[in-house]
Symmetry: none
Subunit: 250 residues, 2 copies
């Protein structure tokens, strides 16, 4: 039997049963234990599944995909990929800032078991954070109804009370000359301040943000590491002259 055949079978089994035991797989494929173990290791590396003691289970991401099949726009898939990578940067004990916005929102499920403290100005993040028992500080400030973000002088001031190990920002556009931009100057200002308070700054941007310029400038490219996906080779080579880019592929 071909390796890829076995992989297909394993993934098929997973789709049906959500979690499977090693024995299950051995019986259906009649391959040896070691072989299946190797398969699982490989598939895990590809983020196709998660190994657990005694077998394997669907990734949280895949689980989401199933539960929101219809809603899963291409965009969301990208954001989840990016968020998944971003979460891998986060370490136990980190204090992190999560910008308001849908991209950073996707990071939260992956923070479940990490011992982190989160500061955010995004009201939409709260349910997800509280649900997972993550210690959360909210910045104060004026509620901007359209995006449910906290902004304004009070928001900026309350940020000053914190220092971050990592800062994750969403943007509306990034451009090699014009840097990172977003429509609302108030929100841009929040992002600037948050950046300045963090040891490491990461900008999360799906492919629709590439080469886009919005109204308010946040920073130049070189002031953050850009995490994106589905970018063309020559675009990438341009970008890498200015900043540290991580391209997430799966």
């Amino acid at each position: 039997m071909l390796t890829t055949e076995r992989h297909e079978i394993i993934l098929q089994l997973l789709k049906e049963k959500q979690t499977i035991t090693l024995q299950d797989i051995i019986e259906t494929t009649s391959a040896s234990e070691s072989t299946i173990r190797r398969d699982l290791t490989e598939l895990e590396k590809q983020h196709k599944l998660e190994r657990i003691h005694g077998g394997a289970t669907l990734t949280e991401r895949k689980l989401q995909e199933f539960s929101i099949t219809e809603k899963s726009t291409k965009n969301l898939q990208e954001k989840i990929k990016i968020a998944n990578y971003a979460s891998s940067i986060v370490q136990d004990g980190d204090c992190i800032y999560l910008d308001a916005g849908t991209t950073t929102l996707q990071i939260i499920p992956y923070l479940q078991d990490k011992d982190v403290v989160v500061v955010t100005n995004g009201l939409t993040h709260l349910d997800s954070l509280i649900e997972r028992g993550i210690t959360t500080y909210l910045t104060g400030g004026l509620i901007k109804p359209k995006t449910s973000a906290l902004i304004g002088q009070q928001a900026v001031q309350s940020l000053q009370n914190y220092r971050f190990d990592k800062c994750f920002l969403g943007v509306n556009g990034y451009h090699i000359d014009y840097g990172y931009t977003t429509p609302d100057p108030e929100e841009a200002h929040m992002k600037q301040i948050a950046s300045s308070l963090a040891k490491e700054v990461y900008v999360l941007a799906d492919s629709t943000k590439h080469n886009k310029i919005s109204f308010a400038k946040i920073n130049d490219l070189q002031e953050a590491q850009l995490i994106t996906t589905e970018i063309e080779a020559d675009d990438l080579s341009h970008l890498t002259k200015r900043t540290n880019v991580k391209v997430v592929n799966n």
Copy 2:
């Protein structure tokens, strides 16, 4: 059986029955007592449930989600009456502070057409406020998951940025000698500071709060106007010696 399978079963049982015994779980999973204990310890660490002597129960938060309707109805009528009166105090142009809690929450519908600015530390208030297009500032601070209130040093500090025309507080008890009290010292502190920043302070308390003493003192009676309902005549006459009481009857 896989560990995650058992966990799933346990959570499923919980969803159905709210609280379960260790024996229940042992019978349905046919795993040993020690194993189930380990599972419970693990799941508790993930905030998926709360261990109790002899079994487990849903987290207080989850429980609230389920039973919130019935639990609040008893006092809800009272609270609405009180809130209705409180809102009549509010004038166009006022800047008001709304304490976290279910009583102050009832004020919001009546603020619909008044041109006010609201500051609050209660996350549960947000939906209602935003929905009605009320300009809202949130204090910053640590999120206390149980009550969804913002507390702590950052919360207190961010309050200092404001001055209020009126301040509306909920309490857990008021007593002629011991004043206004509430269980959490952190929340009590927030209420103190908010009071000190307001021209007028109003405490909203339904009849279950009468003569009750809780752990942390907020203020003496005379430092606020008490708004309550369904109070007996001689109790009232005692109270009026110490503070300004408004009794709402309908």
